[in-house]
Amino acid sequence: MSRVWAYGFGLGLTLLVAAPGFGDPRWDSYPLSTYPMFARPRGRPTLHFAEAVDARGERLRVSPELVANQEVMQAAATVKRAVRAGPEAMQALCERIASRWSPAAHGRAREIALVSATFDPVGYFTRGPEPVSRTVHHTCPVPP
């Protein structure tokens, strides 16, 4: 392995990995990143999720596998992207979740809802878990 390769590739890759540190600190990609994930002040973050609603109006939790895969945060990101993309994307995702909903495994549900809720993170634990605000963006029926 030549010295030129060692310096070119080794130091070149190191500089490439370090380069995002000199730009916008919010920039994030893969495998290069500024690693902004824990750095931002959170304020009152909004969480996106899907929920099922039964005949009595009770809300049931939708497991991430029904939204995307077993990765919880990837499921949340999927709902967020659909909400941002608009009615067509929300309808497609909602129908996909509804088609995967099994009354035997998940309970009887009337509809699926795509929801966003804004929280006060510390207040959630110190004052109570009610969100500051809550919006139902889209609903679709669960096939019988």
């Binding site: 392995m1 080794g10 893969y30 495998p31 500024t34 959170r42 999720f49 659909a82 993170p121």
Partner: protein, 311 residues
């Protein structure tokens, strides 16, 4: 140039790089094996959810299900060859690139898996270095190479990349979090939010992290410790006790992230990325390694530790 050579192109034993290849490769391969269904289930996403990142920026649409499965399986097999140092001239670069593409693909559906960045970068360095000249199938029956800069640069680059990623994370906290980071306010809100979203989304949250929220002053201390670990990472490049102390702190930092937020940065928690700061080849004389090496290459008798130049 000589001073830089002594630090970067340092004469380091091939065994050290070989051990690092074996352990980093084994970690990456095991990681893929454990998360195999997580990788292959990406085919459940629809085309409009595909937002390619990094080296996949050019991809117009996601892979067909069969191709994704085949590519994940092939990467796993390449990982085995990479770890064992089997036909490394091909398997080394092939696994490094396949792992980069596969993990990039996984981060192309709305969430970036920062837990995979460092192991991916380390695999790239190893894949394009002479990492199988010792402690490998390829080294069977060949004379032991002497310590050389062609092994040293790769070991040094592994360490540099580890340091740079920590410093970047620290710099981002200073630039984005500002005063809130020094007061512990941002960290407190981060731990609260992370546990909140896990509760709301039906995942495992940390009761310890929730309990700590009743002691706000603690977050000031934890925030300063976090910055100390991240911005103090260059100390590891000094080697010796500096590297040991920093590595223990860095591991402790990830352990505390695990117990307060249930976020497992599996690679640093395995301690494998920190090994580039130490004379990892010394372990070759220990019983578990001797057993493993006996099956990899012969003769074993020559693997006793010796003076390691370049430190």
């Amino acid at each position: 140039m000589n001073a830089l050579d002594r630090r970067f192109y340092a004469a380091i034993p091939a065994e050290r790089l070989g051990v690092l290849r074996l352990l980093i490769g084994a970690f990456a391969t095991l990681y893929l094996a454990v998360r195999f269904t997580s990788f292959t289930s990406l085919s459940r996403f629809s085309a409009h959810e595909f937002d390619p990142v990094g080296p996949l920026f050019w991809m117009p649409e996601p892979l067909p299900r069969v191709l994704l499965f085949a590519f994940t399986a092939a990467t796993l097999l390449l990982g085995v060859a990479f770890s064992l140092g089997f036909r490394f001239r091909v398997s080394g670069p092939a696994f490094a690139i396949a792992f980069l593409l596969l993990t990039s693909y996984r981060s192309s559906f709305g969430m970036k898996f920062h837990t995979e960045n460092l192991v991916c970068l380390h695999a790239l360095v190893l894949g394009f270095s002479a990492a199988a000249d010792a402690v490998s199938f390829d080294a069977r029956g060949k004379p032991r190479p002497s310590a050389h800069g062609r092994y040293g640069w790769a070991v040094r680059t592994l360490g540099l990349l580890t340091v740079v990623t920590y410093v970047l994370a620290g710099v981002a906290k200073l630039r984005l979090g500002g005063d809130g980071w020094f007061s512990g306010e941002v960290l407190e809100a981060q731990i609260a939010y992370d546990n909140l979203r896990k509760i709301e989304l039906g995942s495992l949250h940390s009761p310890l992290g929730v309990a700590l929220l009743s002691v706000p002053a603690l977050f000031t201390v934890l925030a300063w410790l976090t910055l100390l670990v991240e911005l103090g990472a260059p100390a590891a490049l000094l080697g010796g006790r500096w590297a040991l102390v920093w590595s223990v702190f860095a591991w402790g930092f990830h352990a505390s992230v695990l117990v307060t937020m249930m976020i497992a940065f599996a690679y640093p928690l395995s301690a494998v990325p920190y090994l580039a700061f130490f004379r990892a080849e010394r372990w070759l004389a220990t019983r578990p390694f001797r057993w493993m090496i006996r099956r990899l290459e012969q003769p074993i008798d020559s693997l006793a530790p010796r003076a390691a130049p370049g430190d």
